[in-house]
């Protein structure tokens, strides 16, 4: 652990980084003043509502909106006919992937068919919400119901109902011409698989299934649009990426991006789910038709039924190891339910599945499958949790079979610098081993369990982290503070962590930097907030902007002292005259002279750090208690140990780890899209069952800091990885407690009980036989 430090002291190298200042936007958020997307209110604003399909799959024979239009207070009603027509092969390239424009438009307003319950069919604008709602009931849609398919394995069969007549399977990037619900089949290969298994002393193989789960952010999707008569469209919305909304909205409406300005409001959670556009185009068209701003907010049921859950999955994994526990071969087959349109994160799942270990021989097959469910969206470490359950359960089986400590087994195989992943990537410096070493000595791992039916499990997880484009602009104020305009929307305190990196360069206190999130017309292009990239990439841009400010200020100091720039040094936050050490100006003093020194000081950082993004590894320990009579699981204790690279603001790093842990716990135990006849039955917080604070204990964290070798401050990004291993750790803890293995998420009480009873029966049978 030479290079790693623990718990966010940043190796003691920094002044601002590693401290815990109060976030800049904090007071507004604890007093209720912060304006979120749902709080948008414009003069003359109308309220919009969306009519949604009650059927999982149907052809639209006709839509009659005349009665709705006639209702008093209704100003406009729109359908797919109000969208521009699509060419079959028009494609929009977004960070998340490439999508057919036709599909994006259909998801906004269905044209020929509805592909899922909740699919948007028409939209209404009225003078108040209740009238808009009444109007929806007056729209008559003539549906021809089609046989649907809502299970990923069933959808892959040759005889499954087909969703898209023009969808053909792409195999390894080549179009096969075969019409099917399998949109693509990808494959990664490494070494000689057969040889690896042949040399293995022990082979484990199991099939796993995970249910669709939702990001479950507390703020519903919303968009307010104003389309002015000069042709300029403005959208106020809660989004993880204003530029992404701009691009999608413009493409869907057939406008140049310059005609669309997107104002990112404060955002009440996203976790990947607020990357796609669901409402802005409808609000825009309604606004154009009525000449007023139109606001649309989804109901909670709409959020569940119509916005991206994470794909449900089928995963089969086979691992081979020698008697010492060394992994020799691994094979994985992964099928993800993309929902109504192609584009699940199966590629990421295929990268993550074997990512924690050095395995010389591997084969991974991934399938992206369409079926009659809402189009899936990214959710925290997209694709990683589904596959983690499989591999980490099997690792536990190997440890049990070999009588090995599960952490020792993982340490023996841990990925490290130079390890080649199955997709071909070779790791730079990574912190997998360091998290395992910290786990091994953690008091939690060493503490005895305290009662019957209790068990402990561990699991390790991974997320690759993203780089991508970010822009930051800094304006120095006369009073020595700096306004920092950045393009990344702040979902969890990123204003602070970006401002802190800026402050670190210039030796300023964090409070002297005033970070603001700009709209698409006032800040440079910045990709979405997600992929654990903001602190990494936007922080890097802030570093660059600070460097520029420093350079300009050195010039200003030279001007002030009437000397040359090479005579001025920047030292401990002060500008110093090299040959006349009496001459020394603090940042604040120098800023005070700016008016006389030629005016404004503006620094810009625009980065695209695509190479060398270092992934983040995390290991967690879960203690559970199983009620053997009911199958109910109680989480007794939970610890997450993650390599975050340098932790800029340790409290928010811990917060990410805790939030990810609890989301992982929810996924493990109760959360699922419960379908009956293609219809989601539990589309409310009551029945979807995300964890409440009574369901979880305090979440202990250990921040391991293995600095990123390329980032100016060693940041890695921390947001995602922590969601991946909790389900497997809990599954392993359940095994430790009561000796059952579950292969399906969620591990609902009835499933736990059924497995317990089956085990008792099997034991009774062997005892009798």
């Amino acid at each position: 652990m030479s290079n790693a430090s623990k718990n966010g002291n940043g190796n003691g190298k920094y002044k601002v980084i590693g401290t815990r200042p109060i976030r800049h936007d904090g007071v507004d958020k604890v007093t209720g003043r912060a304006a979120y997307g749902i709080d948008t209110h414009l003069g003359g604003m109308l309220y919009g509502q969306i009519l949604r399909s009650p059927h999982p799959y149907a052809r639209i024979r006709g839509i009659d909106t005349s009665k709705a239009k006639a209702l008093k207070g209704v100003r406009a009603v729109i359908t797919a006919a109000d969208l521009p027509p699509s060419e079959a092969d028009e494609v929009l390239n977004l960070v998340e992937g490439s999508f057919r424009l036709k599909d994006l438009r259909s998801n906004i307003l269905a044209d020929e068919k509805v592909f899922y319950q909740g699919h948007s069919v028409a939209a209404v604008a009225a003078t108040n919400l209740h009238i808009a709602e009444e109007a929806l009931q007056l729209i008559e849609v003539d549906y021809e119901i089609l046989p649907h398919v809502d299970d990923v394995v069933a959808a892959m069969r040759d005889d499954a109902p087909l969703l898209h007549e023009d969808l053909t399977t792409k195999e390894f990037g080549e179009d096969t011409g075969k019409n099917s619900n399998i949109a693509s089949h990808i494959q990664f290969k490494l070494g000689d698989l057969e040889k690896g298994f042949a040399e293995s002393d022990i082979i484990v193989e199991e099939e796993f299934e995970t249910a669709s789960v939702h990001q479950g952010y507390i703020e519903s999707h919303n968009a307010t649009a104003e389309w002015k008569t000069d042709g300029q469209l403005t959208v106020w919305t809660s989004t993880q990426g204003a530029f992404g909304v701009q691009k999608q909205t413009a493409a869907i409406l057939g406008l140049p991006v310059s005609k669309v300005r997107v104002v990112p409001m404060e955002i009440g959670g996203g976790f990947g789910g607020k990357i796609p556009v669901y409402l802005a185009p409808q609000a825009a068209i309604l606004s154009k038709k009525c000449g007023h701003p139109v606001k649309i907010v989804m109901t909670r049921a709409d959020v569940f039924r119509s916005t991206g859950p994470t794909p449900s999955s089928y995963v089969k994994v086979k691992l081979g190891a020698d008697n010492s526990g060394k992994l020799l071969a691994a094979q994985a087959t992964i099928a993800f339910a993309a929902g109504a349109f192609p584009g699940s994160p199966v590629g990421a799942g295929a990268v993550c599945v074997l990512s924690c270990y050095a395995i010389p021989n591997g084969l991974v097959d991934g399938y992206d499958v369409v079926l009659n469910r809402p189009r899936s969206a990214a959710y925290r470490a997209p694709g990683s949790t589904q596959v983690n359950l499989a591999v980490e359960t099997l690792m536990d089986e190997i440890a049990v079979k070999l009588g090995m400590d599960p952490i020792e087994l993982r340490l023996l195989n841990a990925a490290e610098e130079g390890t080649r992943r199955v997709d071909g990537a070779v790791y730079p410096v990574v912190g997998c081993r360091e998290t395992l070493e910290q786990t091994k000595v953690h008091e939690h791992y060493l503490a005895p369990l305290s009662g019957p039916h209790q068990g402990r499990g561990v699991a390790t997880g991974f997320w690759m982290n993203a780089g991508l484009k970010s822009t930051v602009t800094a304006n120095v104020n006369e009073d020595g503070t700096v306004n920092l305009m950045e393009g990344s929307t702040d979902i969890g305190g990123s204003r602070a962590s970006i401002a802190m990196q800026f402050a670190e360069v210039l030796g300023l206190p964090a409070e002297a930097v005033n970070p603001m999130v700009g709209d698409t017309a006032s800040v440079g292009y910045t990709e979405l907030t997600g992929g654990s990239r903001v602190t990494f990439a936007t922080g890097w841009a802030a570093y660059e902007a600070a460097q520029e400010v420093k350079k300009i200020l050195i010039g200003k100091a030279a001007l002030y002292w009437e000397t040359t720039e090479d005579e001025v040094r920047f030292e401990e936050g002060d500008f110093v005259h090299s040959t006349d050490p009496e001459k020394r100006l603090t940042f604040k003093e120098l800023a005070g002279h700016l008016v006389d020194l030629g005016g404004p000081v503006v620094g810009t950082g625009a980065v695209d750090p695509n190479s060398g993004v270092g992934g983040s590894f995390t290991t967690c320990i879960a203690d559970v208690e199983v009620d053997p009579e009911t199958g109910k699981i109680k989480i007794l204790r939970f610890t997450m140990i993650q390599d975050a690279g340098t932790a800029i603001h340790p409290s928010y790093v811990e917060g990410q780890m805790q939030g990810g842990s609890v989301q992982g716990i929810g996924w493990a135990l109760n959360e699922e899209y419960f379908y009956n006849e293609g219809r989601m039955q539990n589309a409310s917080f009551l029945d979807y069952r995300i964890p409440t604070c009574l369901d979880v204990p305090m979440i202990e964290t250990v921040i391991v800091e293995v600095p990123h070798p390329d980032h100016p401050f060693g940041v890695r990004g921390v947001g995602e990885a922590s969601i991946a291993p909790p389900p497997a750790a809990i599954a392993n803890a359940i095994y430790d407690a009561v000796g059952i293995r579950l292969h399906e998420l969620p591990m609902r009480p009835d499933r736990v009980l059924a497995a317990c009873l089956a085990k008792e029966e099997a034991e009774a049978a062997t005892a009798n036989g």
């Binding site: 109060i22 912060a34 409440t692």
Partner: protein
């Protein structure tokens, strides 16, 4: 019928009057008509607590109250928590402990926690978790929220303790 009702009420100590349709919830009137958008909406069916307000000293969800029902009542919302002198200890502790990430749940948690401390100034961790179970937070995993409430309770007890016993 269908005409608007006239409601007189007190919100955060200020007497107010408004007109509303009977079908409008208190949440809708606060947010859309009175401009008090600090009270958030997360579900509109009683399950997330983002709309927590206190009516006549009782904690409730504003989405499950018709605005016409608050005739003559005293309503407390997040906008009433800080005073001109500064933040309430709960707000201060939420900031110090990084108890918010996106912050959309925060007003609801703060109002609910205030109701708890008014009712029980010395809660155990279990009592805090039980009391706040009707407030959902998807970002934080609750750890830092629960800690902040426990710490604010300490502050509250110190400031109300007899002179000399506080530090």
């Amino acid at each position: 019928m269908n005409s608007k009702a006239h409601v007189k009420t007190t919100i955060n100590g200020e007497e107010m009057e408004f007109l509303c349709e009977p079908r409008q919830s208190l949440l809708e009137v606060l947010r859309d008509d009175l401009g008090l958008t600090g009270t958030k909406e997360g579900c509109n069916d009683g399950n997330c607590g983002a709309c927590s307000v206190i009516i006549d000293n009782v904690l409730v969800n504003a989405c499950l109250v018709f605005a016409v029902e608050i005739q003559g009542c005293r309503v407390f919302t997040i906008e009433g928590l800080a005073s001109p002198e500064g933040l309430h200890p709960l707000q201060q502790k939420f900031l110090e402990n990084a108890s918010l990430q996106c912050g959309i749940c925060t007003p609801g948690f703060l109002v609910a926690a205030k109701a708890l401390l008014d009712h029980n100034p010395d809660p155990t961790e279990h009592e805090v978790r039980h009391w706040l179970a009707g407030n959902l937070c998807r970002c934080t995993g609750y750890d830092k929220i629960v800690r902040a409430v426990l710490k604010a309770a300490e502050v509250g007890r110190e400031t109300t303790a007899p002179a000399g016993s506080s530090n």
